[in-house]
Amino acid sequence: MSFEIRPGAVRFVGIRKAFGDFVAIRDLNLEIEAGQLVTLLGPSGCGKTTTLRMLAGLEQPTAGRILIGGRDVTTFPANERDVSMVFQSYALFPHMTVGENVAYGLVSTGVGKKDAAARAEDALELVGLGGFAKRLPSELSGGQQQRVAVARALVLEPQVLLLDEPLSNLDARLRRQVRTEIRELQQRLGFTAVYVTHDQEEALAVSDRIVVMADGEIAQIGTPRELYEEPASAFIADFIGEANVVPCTVTTVEAGIAHFNIESLSHSAPSHRATPGKAQLAVRPNAIRIGEPGSDPGLQGRIMSAAYLGDHVEYEIETPVGRLFAIDPAVERIHPVESEVRLSLRNRGVAVIPQ
């Protein structure tokens, strides 16, 4: 059988959530297009999981409305919403077999036992676990359990699939594989997915769009490329990929290119709404080129530490604008600690942050 998922759009309108005096979410307005995979990304305590749980119906918003597929579901209990969720702990029922777990939602919503078992088997097939229905969850590996959780959620053909840090209990190698599988499945079946994570690399890898949250508010929304290349704030720049944030002075802006100075170093980058004057610059660690002292005009620096990591060297460099973190692929020659260097910038990996 084929899965017929009719993806639904999601809208949060003026959502506010307070736990006693603590305000977890203040005035959240967000639209998620049908069929997209949108990631809620942010440090712990930013409100991303609360947002997801309100969408699932597991928390009641203090104010505001939630619409799924154009229907206001704000007062609906969790079991009457057309969404399903993959939990961080997977939450597989340990006393039921894999097949019973996957069929549980179907049986609960009134599908006959036989029919439910057949569809559960299809769903398991979909995630590559055909023939595992008789096993208990405890007999599966972590990655397999994770896939059962996905199958259990998908078998209900929800308008929206919610994933709450689905990879955090897997080891690093498996994480990469499973996230690719989830993305493929989403693209193939075309469901809407809301994905919560605190891992920016994971977010960049799977998302159509990323919503970065901080302190209960949306810090920036964009595609992975927009967030990385045009961070709206120093926080975003540092959170999405590492970045050195240094003060600079923009001298001129012409044809979308901003020219700026950092001390004695002059450089240019795409302007992104920047205007002449004081600004901040996000410099990725691999955008710093380390040269011999006294060469071309650049930024004076002194190596404070150097760590050899196989395919690159990590440096901490003291400069007049603060301590910078740099990654240098030139492993054949390592600058010794305490040596003087002169720094310049590459063309990619430098972004002006408008004030």
Binding site: G57, P77, A91, S108, L156
Partner: protein, 743 residues
């Protein structure tokens, strides 16, 4: 039909059945007899409410049509908000009027003279509410719950709202209302009129508060005697319990596993049995008394009867409880702390005094307070051993059943006792708040507990070994005392006591249970078997609401549930007598009052077990079930209950066994028709029939051991939290000793 309409229809039918179909009032001999069908539905005592209203002229039943009409309107309306509000009004009016008329109009008309002054005299009063009234009250609560749920309470979950409201109603009826009845009872004269002089006279009675024993030969007031006894028992059991716990966990004592078995003893021992065994040992014609008298030529004394004897009996009874509490505390101290201390150059004795013991401090205080409350609440031992020197719990009993027959005095004494135990309970809660240093995490905590220093070990052995021997002697006395003709006089072996209690005749007409004990034995088993599943159900449902749901007033709810743990059984007993002897609820003399009493007395343990078990279950399991489209009742049934099976089993067994051994509350509530084993045995003791009494007790203990053992086999041995690592380190510990000396 939609779900919300269907459930509304069911509640409506319940209300209509309550009003039109079944007898509204309670009557003699009860629904289970079929005689009443003869005069139904027009007989004045068995008629449904509608007949009572028109034929008998009980006009105050008329307002009950209002909730029914409102619910009908709600059913018809399509406006969701209006419907929800109508339902809330229907439920609220129904239950309010139920309470109002129930408490205002009693057997002989108006209960309060001011009402009689305002309104005309009533043609006649009313008896207690029966099946009809009960159904109608339930229906009102359901309507109220549905209304609140449809207004969005508890995320719109009618099952949860209903469960909360019904549990609150039950706790209010069977815990709070009886306690309130004591307060009222304290201010009432024998005829029921309000009278504060009786209260003042009782509360200032020198028999309660006198301090004469400090200055002269006469004895002190019963309040001070009880307090002193409780403090001594608490201190003694805590010290002994700690010594037992240390021996069981920190030494190489050879019988450690056997030692742990004695923690089961207080659960399976009816509370007065220890006192009984002490009489057989140390009473005027006791074995040891006689032996010593022969040896030294001393006159046998009555020293056992009084506070000393009660104290010894309580020490024997409650030391295992302190042991059970403290074994968890001692094991809970993280081994890493002790290892850290030792690597910081502290020897074992210094580690114990400066690290381990301070970390156990709150646990020790807890054990002390538990001992205090247990001693205060103890009824069986003082009843057997108290003689003229009673304590509060026995004084309460004699104030009602004895020649005094003074419920007001009993109520005042109950208030004094309640004040003591509640104070201890509050101190315990305040003390434990945020002070629990023991590490009970899910993390595997590696490391090895430090053994005791030789001096400490010697001290603990010196306490534990003699006490262990004493305890075993007492239990041997209980098990074999029934086989001796007359203690102290004629020590020939006999089976006559067992025969008298448990004889069975098999003849042509089948099996005839001719022994004197069978009646009360079977009643006990039946009532315990009825109470156990109810206790488990109510306890686990309450635990589910406490752990998994957030609602307004939850802390008060939880507190009220736990409170009944601190209410002595005697107080419960007297409060049930005061509360359920007259309309609106009349239960005395029935089996129901015994079952209800057990359910609400044993429930705190079920709640705590349920809370502990449920806290171990990941909350996302429930949430997963909900997001998969299951209702919360389905979630509870299909996900939570199957995973809680061990907790359910232990709640069942515990409440079953506790119902068998309970005496303090029960002795007020038994009747000729429904007599319980413990009450029957106490009667035997009072008649001096020690042989049969001890034989019956031994049989009960064997039955309970059988039940617990088969349960253990069924569920499998519960795994202890941390393995006993001291024993495994035998070789290492020996090797470590000399090195320690050199440091």
């Amino acid at each position: 039909m939609q779900r919300r309409d269907r459930r509304l229809l069911i509640a409506g039918c319940l209300a209509l059945a309550g009003l039109f179909v079944v007898p509204w009032y309670n009557f003699y001999p009860g629904l289970l007899s079929t005689e009443w069908l003869g005069s139904f539905p027009l007989g004045a005592d068995v008629a449904p409410a509608v007949v009572q209203l028109f034929e008998v002229g009980r006009w105050w039943l008329l307002p009950y049509v209002v909730p029914v009409i409102l619910a009908g309107l709600a059913f018809a309306t399509s406006d969701q908000t209006k419907r929800a509000n109508l339902l809330i009004w229907a439920g609220a009016i129904g239950i309010s009027w139920f309470l109002l008329e129930g408490f205002s109009i009693g057997l002989r008309g108006w209960n309060f003279s001011f009402l009689a002054a305002i309104f005309r005299d009533l043609p006649e009063g009313q008896s207690a509410k029966g099946l009809g009234g009960g159904l109608f009250a339930l229906a009102s609560l359901l309507l109220l719950s549905f209304g609140l749920a449809e207004r969005g309470a508890m995320r719109g979950d009618a099952f949860i709202v209903g469960a909360i409201i019904i549990l609150i109603a039950l706790v209010a009826t069977f815990v709070i209302y009886p306690i309130a009845s004591i307060f009222i009872g304290a201010f009432q004269t024998f005829t029921g009129a309000f009278d504060s002089t009786a209260f003042v006279r009782n509360i200032t009675d020198p028999a309660i508060w006198s301090l004469d024993c400090l200055v002269g030969p006469r004895s002190c007031g019963v309040a001070w005697r009880t307090l002193t006894l409780a403090l001594c028992t608490a201190a003694g059991t805590t010290v002994l319990g700690l010594a037992f716990a240390l021996v069981a966990t920190r030494t190489r004592f050879p019988f450690k596993r056997g030692l742990r078995l004695i923690t089961v003893l207080p659960i399976i021992t009816p509370p007065f049995v220890i006192g009984l065994a002490l009489i057989l040992l140390f009473g005027r014609s006791g074995v040891i008394t006689e032996f010593v008298a022969d040896l030294l030529g001393l006159e046998a004394g009555r020293w056992l009867y009084g506070l000393t004897g009660i104290w010894i009996a309580q020490m024997l009874s409650f030391t295992p409880i302190a042991f059970l509490v403290l074994i968890g505390v001692v094991e809970g101290v993280s081994p890493a702390m002790e290892e850290a201390s030792q690597t910081l150059r502290a020897d074992r004795s210094r580690t114990f005094w400066t690290v381990s013991l301070p970390l156990m401090r709150s646990g020790i205080a807890n054990a002390f307070l538990i001992g205090f409350i247990e001693s205060m609440a103890d009824f069986g031992n003082p009843l057997v051993l108290g003689a003229s020197q009673g304590v509060l719990s026995t004084e309460i009993f004699f104030a009602v059943v004895g020649a005094q027959n003074d419920p007001a005095r009993a109520a005042v004494l109950a208030l004094v006792l309640l004040t003591f135990t509640l104070t201890a309970f509050f101190i315990q809660r305040a003390w434990l708040k945020g002070k629990d240093f023991t590490t009970i995490t899910g993390k595997a905590d590696s490391g090895i507990h430090a053994g005791l220093s030789p001096q400490m070990a010697a001290t603990c052995y010196a306490l534990v070994v003699p006490w262990l021997i004493f305890t075993l002697t007492v239990y041997a006395m209980i098990m074999f005392g029934g086989f001796v003709r007359t203690w102290g006089l004629d020590h020939t072996f006999t089976l006559e006591h067992f025969a008298q209690a448990f004889s069975v005749v098999v003849d042509a007409s089948g099996i005839r249970w001719t022994g004197v004990a069978w009646d009360s034995f079977w009643t006990t088993m039946e009532i315990a078997a009825l109470a156990a599943p109810l206790t488990a159900a109510v306890g686990l449902l309450a635990a589910y609401l406490i752990v998994r749901q957030k609602f307004w007033g939850k802390q008060v709810f939880e507190f009220a549930l736990m409170l009944s743990f601190a209410i002595p059984g005697t107080v419960i007993g007297i409060s049930y007598v005061l509360a359920f002897n007259l309309p609106p609820i009349e239960l005395t003399g029935t089996a129901a009052i015994l079952v209800i009493c057990f359910v609400f007395r044993n429930m705190p343990v079920g709640v705590r077990g349920g809370i502990a078990a449920m806290s171990q279950l990941d909350k996302s399991l429930d949430e997963a079930s909900l997001t998969l489209g299951a209702r919360s009742s389905t979630t509870l049934r299909r996900v939570i209950l199957p995973l809680l099976r061990p907790a359910i089993f232990s709640a069942l067994v515990y409440s079953f066994v506790r119902s068998i051994t309970s005496i303090s509350a029960v002795i007020f509530l038994v009747s000729a028709q429904y007599n319980m084993a413990t009450a029957y045995i106490v009667g035997l003791v009072e008649n001096g029939e020690y042989g049969v009494a001890i034989a019956y007790s031994a049989a009960l203990i064997v039955v309970m051991i059988g039940i617990i053992a088969s349960f253990q086999l069924l569920v499998g041995r519960r795994r202890l939290r941390r393995e006993d690592r001291v024993a495994q380190r035998k070789a290492g510990a020996v090797a470590a000793t000399p090195r320690e000396r050199t440091i």
